[in-house]
Amino acid sequence: MTTPVLEARDVTMRFGGLTAVRSVDFTVNSGEIVGLIGPNGAGKTTFFNCLTGLYVPTEGTVSYQGKVLPPKPHLVTKAGVARTFQNIRLFANMTVLENVLVGRHTRTKEGLWSALLRGPGFKKAERASEERAMELLEFIGLAHKRDHLARNLPYGEQRKLEIARALASEPGLLLLDEPTAGMNPQETRATEELVFAIRDQGIAVLVIEHDMRFIFNLCDRVAVLVQGEKLVEGTSEVVQADERVVAAYLGEPFEGEPADDTGTAATAEETDTADETDAAPAPPETPAAGEDTGPDTAEPDGTGPQSTASTKGDTP
């Protein structure tokens, strides 16, 4: 029960003069649901990005099942750590099924040649992938919408689909970045059920969340990050009782504020990897006009709608 899946040792992340994360030690054990909370600008997302290989920590190491994770997102996923995004990042112009199939990328290896030659091996692998993907869609209850475009799904289903897509890579650890942002209470409860179900499959889960009630209901253990440092860690009761946590939160504006981590957002220009989970999402009134999806500027179809959908959702 206490085999550590993920171990962050002494992780520090500095952007120029600003230290966003300061020597954080953090562990997720197998079969555990761990929450990571903190007020705006606490460095949660930066820390998250260190875990997923988007950032290379200035100091310290992150290891998964005893092996140090390589600082490349795709290798991290391959190693067995999957993630979702704070503002949903589905492949908007792909169908629901295709989205999940993309998630299977690391668990299949048919290259260009086998795609062109279409041997029996290829067909078998495709069929297996599709079966697995359909299982996952059944699991989240979207099997009947397999041929719909992801962009046309309602908000809550987009969230679910993102989780299914992450699960498709058969992770040992799932990182959820604000999975209930913008959800109504029923949807939040459904998500809760989903996370428990995922845990029951033997996958450890790390959740970043603003919604305290959700976190305390869900998590076996909660860590609180304030100003880049781990303030306290323990069971829900321990954390809830901690005065410093209350103080840290009271010092901040209302918790439902859509923007978080403004501190690190300010430093975004220092970093090389575009990362939207960190910066303030556009306010809801804004049309999707400027919502550029980061580095892939050559993409022909903007993924505007989904970002809009998410920003809409951010204000209850």
């Binding site: 391959k78 290259g111 908000y155 999707a288 500027t297 050559a298």
Partner: protein, 632 residues
């Protein structure tokens, strides 16, 4: 054409009967019966008028002076009139014609009537203007003009949905109110009006189940009709630009009409159901094309279109699937062509003693392009999208300049500089000489037809590569990268590697096409391989073919390439204004249909299959404002 009419709150008009319900009235207040009769009679009269002489002199292209049978533009009028008559008959509920308009016959009738009116009046006016006055018209011309006008009046009197009429008027006035009046605005408003008026219902009754063999027969018939129409268009002599314009008018309105009639939807369902069969039929039609031609010139045009289209399809992998903006793509065609020329045994080649058999030359050419693709891609694909654009643009220029200078005078002696490598011998397979005409079952297959058939084979390979690659793990990762690179890498996709594969694959296919093109034109010279120029192939034209036709589709780039090649070819009467017209046409097309002529399958999915009404409003609106504006 497809998207404009969709608004989430449209109540479905499921069957033809509902449309013809008696309480509905057309734009022009005529009793339904009278309108229907008017349309039908007008259509028949239009057809009949084409058997009369329209003008007295054969000076007008196509010889419209003959009583007894139609010629030139009259054929097109005839087709337009016949289509109206058919749709009008369908409106009478004539047995056996119901399938013509599953979505109701009014819209198609209006559109075909407009098409017939367009082509007839265009002809009549062109006769009057070119020959200098209305006196040049014979009575037949007047009959045709009046008949086609009657048809339109009748068609607008046909019962239309009250909603459509109201919405059409609203669209018209709203647009004008919002934008003010000017001639252009009026025209746009007119298109908007029409679009709303003939609006195709979102849901079309599912077709009756017909036996599989009948479905295949339908696919075959449509493909052959397509071949016939294409051959007709390509055969219009360059001097008869008027006829070609009439041809385009009829095609545009007919296709639009078929779309509103719901037939296109049905056909695409048929194709989807018999995918392999339809693809095979497409290739059969392509192979049959030279047999419909008596003149090798058209095979020459055909082979050029195929080369251009094949390269565009290769570019589609890079741009359409992987979303990489490549502005120097034509250089890869050049690499292939030059490689093939060097090993062709031409006496002007640096390696004039070397003569590879074609399969080896093709592989060498493709391999050389592959190497260049990797060399260019490896350092640059790590860069952001726009930088990739400029680097590829630079590479394209470097290629052309380098090839132009490598003649031993101002550079290493490899490519023979500006003179290029001429005298490339014709190919020969097992004693089959591509350079000479062969008789095949009574048909003469000339030199260019030989190459045409070879190019069909190459295109088949490229189409196969494209479809297979697109529908696989690697293809999905390309699209994922295009859609959202950050998310894609988070799914474990190695962005750089996947992009490099796309880039190199695209380069390889272009190189392959280049090897054939070198043999077809007998020579390779540096000039054509530039960024932008007056004629295909150049990088800008290739990109335009992809975007114009529809990114991420198979048929789109091929259609785009055919259009971009044929339009300048056929519209020579524009003379030195042709480039101007081309430039303006590009701007207008992007303005009104930025997603290209053939919409991506994914878009089709969105608009046709899902039909879910629980779509959050903003998801459709935010992404599609340019589309909702799209008129024609």
């Amino acid at each position: 054409m497809t998207e404009t009419t969709k608004t989430p709150d449209t109540p479905g008009t499921p069957s033809a009967d509902a449309v013809i319900a008696p309480d509905r009235q057309g734009l022009i207040p005529l009793p339904a019966a009278a309108a229907r009769a008017l349309t039908l009679v007008g259509g028949i009269a239009t057809v009949a008028s084409t058997f009369l002489a329209w003008t007295w002199t054969a000076d007008f292209p196509g010889d419209l002076t003959v009583y007894g049978y139609p010629g030139g533009l009259q054929w097109l009028t005839l087709v337009g009139g016949a289509l109206v008559a058919l749709f009008a008959l369908a409106g009478y509920g004539v047995r056996g014609l119901g399938w013509l308009a599953p979505a109701g016959p009014t819209g198609p009738a209006v559109l075909t009537a407009l098409g017939a009116l367009g082509v007839t009046w265009y002809t009549v006016i062109a006769i009057a203007v070119e020959l200098g006055g209305l006196v040049n018209l014979e009575p037949g011309g007047y009959v045709a003009a009046v008949a086609s006008l009657t048809t339109v009046i009748g068609a607008f009197g046909l019962p239309a949905g009250a909603d459509e009429t109201r919405r059409a008027k609203e669209a018209f006035t709203a647009y004008l109110k919002a934008h003010g009046r000017s001639r252009l605005r009026l025209a746009i408003a007119g298109v908007k009006f029409l679009n709303a008026y003939i609006g195709k219902p979102d849901h079309i009754a599912a077709p009756q189940t017909v036996p599989g063999w009948l479905q295949r027969l339908a696919v075959t018939a449509v493909t052959m009709a397509g071949l016939g129409i294409f051959s007709y268009g390509i055969d219009i002599p360059s001097e008869e630009g008027e006829t070609f314009i009439g041809y385009l008018v009829v095609i545009v309105f007919a296709v639009w009409a078929l779309h509103t009639a719901g037939l296109l939807d049905r056909f695409s369902r048929l194709v989807a159901a018999h995918r392999g069969f339809a693809l095979a039929m497409g290739f059969v039609a392509a192979i049959l094309f030279p047999f419909t031609q008596t003149d090798d010139h058209y095979a020459n045009i055909g082979v050029n279109i195929l080369i251009f289209g094949t390269v565009a399809l290769g570019l589609n992998i890079v741009v359409g699937l992987a979303g990489l903006l490549d502005l120097g793509y034509v250089a890869f065609l050049g690499v292939g062509a030059y490689t093939a020329a060097l090993v062709s045994g031409s006496e002007f080649s640096k390696f004039s003693g070397v003569q590879f058999p074609f399969w080896a030359a093709a592989l060498t050419g493709a391999a050389a392009s592959l190497v260049f693709g990797v060399l260019i891609g490896a350092p640059t694909l790590r860069l952001r999208g726009d930088y990739l654009a400029i680097v590829t643009l630079g590479f394209g220029e470097i290629f052309r300049i380098a090839v132009n200078n490598m003649d031993g005078v101002s550079g290493p002696d490899i490519t023979n500089g500006p003179n290029g490598i001429p005298s490339i011998p014709d190919l020969s397979f097992f004693g089959f000489n591509f350079g000479t005409a062969h008789d095949l079952g009574g048909f003469t297959i000339g030199r260019f037809a030989n190459y045409y058939l070879l190019m069909v084979l190459i295109m088949a390979i490229v189409v196969l590569v494209y479809t297979r690659a697109a529908d696989s793990r690697i293809g999905r990762s390309w699209i994922a990268i295009r859609e959202d690179e950050t998310a894609a890498t988070a799914m474990g996709i190695n962005g750089f590697r996947v992009k490099l594969i796309a880039f190199a694959l695209g380069a390889t296919l272009a190189g392959l096409a280049g090897t054939v093109s070198a043999h077809v034109t007998y020579s390779v010279v540096p000039n054509p391989y530039q960024f932008a120029g007056a004629a295909p192939p150049n990088s800008a034209f290739l990109l335009a073919a992809v975007v114009l036709g529809g990114m991420g589709t198979v048929a789109g780039p091929l259609l785009g390439a055919a259009l971009l090649y044929l339009l300048p070819e056929k519209l020579v009467f524009l003379q030195d204004k042709s480039l101007l017209a081309f430039g303006v046409a590009l701007i207008l097309l992007m303005r009104f249909r930025p997603e290209g002529i053939i919409a991506n399958r994914r878009r089709q999915l969105e608009f046709h299959e899902t039909g879910q009404l629980d779509v959050p409003q903003q998801t459709t609106l935010t992404d599609e404002p340019a589309v909702t504006k799209a008129g024609a």
